[in-house]
C-alpha cells in the first residue's frame, strides 16, 4: 500500500503547486468577492450587486467608503460583474439582486418591464445616471498605426476589437459613437450605417462578450485597435499595460445607469447606497477611478483629467434609448443588429 499513497501524494502536491502558481492569473468577469468584514456587533445586511463588466474598479473604492458612512456600517456586498445585457437577463430571469448598474438604459428598462424596478427609478436630478464616460480608441503604445479619428479605423487590414452588441453595452456605445459622428447625430442615417457596416464587416474579427473581455482579448495580442470606455482605457494604462488611448474629436457621451430593485430585501440599505453614489465624496472617488462624474462641482475639479471633446453626441441627440434600441439594436429588426448579424453569421 505504500506505493499508491506516494503516487497520490505526488499528484496532490503537484496539483496544489500548479493551483497556487496560477491563482494570481485568473481572468474573471464575475468576481463574487464579498466586501470587507463587518464591524463587530453591527447589524449586517448584504447587498447583491449586479453590474456590467468594467465598473468594478469604481465600486472597489466606493464600497469601502460607503461602509465607513453611518448608513453603510456593517453592510456586506456580494458583487457580480459581466456583460451588461447578459447580467440584465440573469436578473430578469430571477437572480437575486438588490442593486443593479448597467452600461445602457435598455438593460434597466428590461427590469422595469419585468416589474422588478420601479418605473420612476430615473426620477432623480441626474436621471438615474451616477457616472459616465466617453467612447475612446485604445491603441498599442506609440500609436504605430497612427490612429487619430474614426476614418483611420477603416484603413485596409486594420483589425478592431469591440465586443458583441447583443450581449455588451460597451459594444453599443462603441458603434453609436462613429454612427453619430458620421450621420451628424442621426440626420444622415445612411452615412452612419455605411460606416458601421464597413467597420463591422471588414475590421471586426472577434466578438468578445463584454467590454472587459474585449480588453483582455486586446491585451493578449489580438487586433490593432480597441474601442472602449475612457475609464477602461485609463484603468489599463494605469496598470502599466503597453497601450495608450486617443479620444477622437467627435465622440459619444456614455451614461451608465444604476437602480435599486423594488422587491429588494434590503431596500433601505440598497437605496442608501444608490443615493451615496451621487454624493460629492463618492463622485470624487469615482472620478479618481477614471469615471466622469455627474456632479457639476466635482466635474469642474476634474476638467483637466477629462478633457471635453470638440463635439460630444449624446443618446438624447439620437432620440433617446427607446428609439435607438428599437431602430438600431433590436434583434432581427434594428439596422445595426442586421449589419452585425450578416457580418458574423
Amino acid at each position: 500500500m505504500r506505493r499508491p499513497s506516494i503516487a497520490i501524494a505526488a499528484i496532490a502536491v503537484t496539483a496544489t503547486l500548479g493551483l497556487t502558481a496560477c491563482a494570481g492569473g485568473g481572468a474573471s468577469d464575475s468576481a463574487a468577492a464579498a466586501g470587507t468584514a463587518a464591524a463587530d456587533g453591527a447589524t449586517t445586511s448584504t447587498i447583491n450587486l449586479y453590474a456590467y463588466a468594467v465598473p468594478k474598479v469604481g465600486f472597489d473604492v466606493v464600497i469601502p467608503a460607503f461602509q465607513k458612512t453611518k448608513a453603510g456600517q456593517g453592510v456586506q456586498f456580494q458583487q457580480s460583474y459581466g456583460a451588461s445585457g447578459d447580467q440584465s437577463r440573469k436578473v430578469a430571469a430571477g437572480a437575486e439582486a438588490d442593486f443593479v448598474n448597467f452600461s445602457v438604459e435598455p438593460d434597466i428598462t428590461r427590469l422595469v418591464d419585468a416589474g422588478l424596478v420601479d418605473p420612476n427609478w430615473n426620477a432623480n436630478e441626474h436621471k438615474g445616471i451616477p457616472f459616465g464616460s466617453v467612447v475612446t480608441i485604445v491603441v498599442r503604445k506609440g500609436n504605430p498605426k497612427g490612429i487619430k479619428d474614426w476614418d483611420d479605423l477603416l484603413k485596409p487590414g486594420l483589425e478592431v476589437v469591440t465586443p458583441n452588441p447583443f450581449s455588451s453595452g460597451s459594444a453599443k456605445w462603441n458603434l453609436l459613437a462613429p454612427y453619430a459622428a458620421k450621420s451628424n447625430g442621426g440626420v444622415d442615417k445612411a452615412a452612419g450605417l455605411a460606416y458601421v457596416s464597413a467597420l463591422v464587416k471588414d475590421h471586426v474579427k472577434v466578438q468578445p462578450k463584454s467590454g472587459r473581455e474585449a480588453t483582455e482579448t486586446f491585451l493578449q495580442g489580438s487586433g490593432d485597435v480597441l474601442l472602449s470606455y475612457e475609464n477602461e482605457a485609463l484603468f489599463i494604462e494605469k496598470n502599466g499595460d503597453p497601450v495608450e488611448h486617443v479620444t477622437p474629436p467627435t465622440t459619444f457621451k456614455i451614461e451608465n445607469p444604476a437602480a435599486v430593485l423594488k422587491g429588494s430585501k434590503n431596500l433601505a440599505t440598497a437605496t442608501a447606497f444608490n443615493d451615496y453614489l451621487y454624493t460629492p465624496e463618492a463622485q470624487k472617488l469615482l472620478a479618481e477611478a477614471g469615471f466622469r462624474p455627474v456632479d457639476p462641482t466635482v466635474a469642474q475639479e476634474y476638467t483637466s483629467k477629462f478633457p471635453a471633446p470638440t463635439k460630444l453626441w449624446t443618446i438624447a441627440d439620437l432620440g433617446g434609448w427607446k428609439t435607438v434600441d428599437s431602430t438600431l439594436f433590436k434583434k432581427d429588426v434594428g439596422d445595426i443588429a442586421k449589419i452585425y448579424d450578416q457580418a458574423t453569421q
Binding site: A15, Q220, G221, S222
Partner: protein, 335 residues
Amino acid sequence: MTPDTDQQRRGPYPETDAAPLPPRPDATAPDGIRPHGGDAALPDTPPDTLPTGRPAEPPRGTTRPRRHGKGLRRLRGPLGIGIVTLWLSVIVLLPLAALTVAAFDEGLAGFWEAVTAPAALASLWVTVLVSAVVALVNAVVGTLVAWVLVRDEFRGKRFVNAVIDLPFALPTIVASIVLLSLYGPNSPIGVELNATRWGLVVALLFVTLPFVVRSVQPVLIEADHEVEEAAASLGATTWTTFRRIVLPTLAPAILSGTGLAFARAIGEYGSVVLIGGNIPRETQVASQYIQQQIEIDRPLNAAAVSVALLAIAFVTLLLLRVVSSRSQRREERDA
C-alpha cells in the same frame, strides 16, 4: 456539453468497458479450453490490474458469498433494471430529450437554419478537425508513453506515471492559464500559439493525454512477453513482431482510448477558452459558439448546435463499440 464528456469528468479513469479485456494468456493455450467457462464469464471477471498498472488487491466483497441481505440479491432482478433505467433517465436521457425539444422549438427548418448558419458550421468543423488531429496524435504518442512506462525501467518512473494523471486533476481552466503563460503573448520560450488552431491542438492534447495511456497500460502489462520472444526466435524482425503480435493485442485498447480522447476533445471548453482566442470561423470551437449564443440570448441556436455536437459524440462512441466488439470477436475466433 455532451453526456459522454461529463461522464468522463466524473472519474479519473477512462471506462475500460468499451475495450474488451485483453486476451488472457491462458486463452491462447493450444488446447483452446477457456478456464473461466467461456465468453460469458469474461466481462464479469474482475480486471487483474488497476488502470494505473499496479496489481490490484482482490476486490473486497465480490469473492465472498453474501449470505445476508435478501434485498441485494433481489437487486439483480427487475428492481435492479428498474433502478438503472430510472437513474439513466433522470440523469442522462430526460435532460437530453429536453435539449432536443428545445432545439426543435421552431420546427425542423429552425433547427436546420441554426445548425447550418456559417458561423455554426465553421465552429463544428473546427471542433471536429482539431479533435481528430488530437485523437490521432494521442493514438501514437499515448501508446508510446504507455510502452515506455510498462516496459522500461528508469529513475523517476513513478513520478512520470503520476504526472500522466495531472491533466485530470487540474481544472481545465487552469490548464488554459498554464498554457497561456507558456505559449501566450510574450512567451518565455518564444512560441506564441494563442488564438491559433495549434493553440487549440496543444490545449486539447494536454487534457486528453491520459486516455490512451491509461487504456493501453493495463493491456500491455497483461500481454504475454513469451509470445513476442517466440516470434523473435522464429526470426521475426522487431517491426514484424510489433505489427503482427503486439499491435493486434493493443489495438482495441488504443482504439478505445483514442475514441474517448476524441469525444472528450469535441466537448472541451475550459482548456481552450483562453488560449483559443475564440475567433469565429478560425478558432471558435462548438462549445464556445454555444456559450456565445446563450450570452447573446439565442438559446435556440445554442440548443441546435448542442444537439449536433451530441450526435457527433454519440456516433463516435457507437462506432467505437461496433469496431471493438468486432475485433474482440475476431480475437476470439483466432484464439
